[in-house]
Amino acid sequence: MSFDVPDERRYLESHEWALETDGVVRVGISDFAQDELGDVVFVELPDEGDDLEQETEFGVVESIKAVSDLYAPVGGEVVAINDDLFDAPELVNEDPFGEGWMLEIEADDPDELEALLTAEEYEDQIA
């Protein structure tokens, strides 16, 4: 089985991806992670305005068979959450890098992303 690992993103070992645009970092979970979890049925996200630190827990994703904590790839303020996931958590399975995104963080220090895995490194991890 092969999984999408888009090049332009950074990854955590815990399978979150991060995509930065002008200091705002969009976050979701990888194709590999959604496949491991199976049917996602519930996503718990922080509130807009919450402050997160890098690699701390920001929420939970639950599939029928498993519960998995979610970790912030970068520190900063939550400026948007994807509330479509509350009614349609299956978007995480269907489009993990697109409509299944989870939140956006205004990064305190976008350089923090440099510490994360590159696509190539992440691909090695899940191989």
């Binding site: 089985m1 049917d39 029928i64 068979k65 509350f86």
Partner: protein, 378 residues
């Protein structure tokens, strides 16, 4: 300890299954997705490899007495080709395991003799199906009581000789009937007979663990691949098996009751209908005493009203947050698209409609007691 592997491990792997350890066996948990597999069983037909289930074979002049004295139901009511759900209880009435007891054709008859209803003129013979990983202890239990009571019966653990498949769903009967040389559609619920598929005699029982119509087939390990292939439909893993049985309000041994971690009588577990107090069996006197005074706690079904998913081990509380019980099973119901679960609560909180709370990761979520099964079942 190395995991036991079902005979079709390789075939499932090629089909792309994910595997999980269950009761000491390496079993397929998911082939496509739990929701896809679950929906196939509710709307069409799906097949499960449940070869991890134990198979214990009991025969001899005293086989009926041995079965009667070690299971809670009335084995004397079983004619050849009948089966019944029963609890295996300890002296104190605690459920050790639950099982289905099948009465096979009498020993000495060939399967061919008994493709009809069979005549009970030889040694009575039973096959029962303890849960995954309990077959050895169960086999020991049967042998030790047989010896203690000095009964004439042969008890064989045939778990490694038989594969078991469950074909379940509204179209299951048509599918199985289309590949068997013998009729099977006339069998009623809990009736069984040998039916031949590609020349292989398969013990074909109208039983299941999904709430749907269908069959469970017990087939020789060596012919398992042939039979699995002949019964061509959506393969389903243990993941969907779990969501289906929770919707149907059916118990999982070791989870909804456990002799060590959560000892329960059949009455508490909601399977009092398996207890035939007019028979003599281990645990009977203790259960008669419980029956006389009633139970303090009972297994109930509930639905979460707030968002969240109940899971095994979560606390159940009153609306004032006093802990009164524990979730034993829970899931997001694929059919209802609601979070549902099972758990034990004091009987005063067991009435359908009662409002409770379930503590999900430190947060109290509103829940309501529901009647089970959660869905319409056969």
């Amino acid at each position: 300890m190395p995991l036991q592997t079902p005979p079709l491990r390789g075939i499932h792997d090629e089909r792309g299954a994910k595997f999980t350890e269950f009761g000491g066996w390496d079993m397929p948990v998911e082939f496509d997705s739990i929701q896809t597999e679950h929906a196939a069983v509710r709307e069409d037909v799906g097949i499960f490899d449940v070869s991890h289930m134990g198979q214990i074979h009991v025969t001899g002049p005293d086989a009926t007495e041995l079965m009667q004295r070690l299971t809670s139901n009335d084995v004397s009511r079983l004619g050849v080709g009948d089966s019944q759900y029963a609890a295996i209880t300890d002296e104190d009435g605690t459920v050790i395991d639950d099982t289905v007891v099948y009465r096979l054709p009498d020993e000495g008859e060939t399967p061919q003799d008994s493709h009809g209803d069979g005549d009970a003129d030889g040694e009575p013979t039973y096959l029962f199906v303890p849960n995954a990983g309990t077959d050895e202890a169960t086999h020991e239990r049967w042998l030790s009581y047989r010896n203690e009571w000095d009964l004439e019966a042969t008890v064989d653990n045939r778990t490694d000789e038989y594969a078991m498949f469950a074909v379940q769903g509204p179209n299951a009967v048509d599918l199985v009937a289309s590949v068997t040389e013998d009729p099977v559609g006339d069998l009623e619920r809990f009736e069984a007979r040998y039916a031949t598929i590609d020349g292989v005699d398969c013990w074909t029982a109208r039983t299941g663990y999904t709430g749907e119509d269908g069959f469970e087939l017990i087939v020789p390990w060596a012919d398992a691949a042939e039979i699995w292939t002949a019964l061509d439909c959506q393969p389903c893993g243990l993941g969907a098996r779990d969501t289906l049985r929770i919707e149907a309000g059916l118990l999982l041994s070791g989870q909804d009751f456990d002799p060590e971690d959560n000892p329960r009588t059949p009455y508490e577990a909601g399977i009092g209908f398996t207890v035939a107090l007019e028979t003599e069996f281990v645990g009977r006197d203790a259960l008669a005493a419980v029956d006389a005074v009633g139970v303090d706690e009972r297994l109930v079904g509930f639905q979460l009203i707030d968002r969240g998913v109940p899971r095994h081990g979560y606390d159940i509380t009153t609306t004032e947050s006093r802990v009164i019980g524990t979730v034993t099973s829970g899931t997001m119901s694929p059919t209802l698209e609601k979070p549902i679960g099972l758990g034990y609560v004091p009987v005063e909180y067991a009435e359908p409609g009662t409002t409770l709370q379930v503590v999900v990761r430190g947060q109290s979520k509103k829940a309501r007691v529901e009647t089970t099964p959660f869905i319409d079942t056969v």
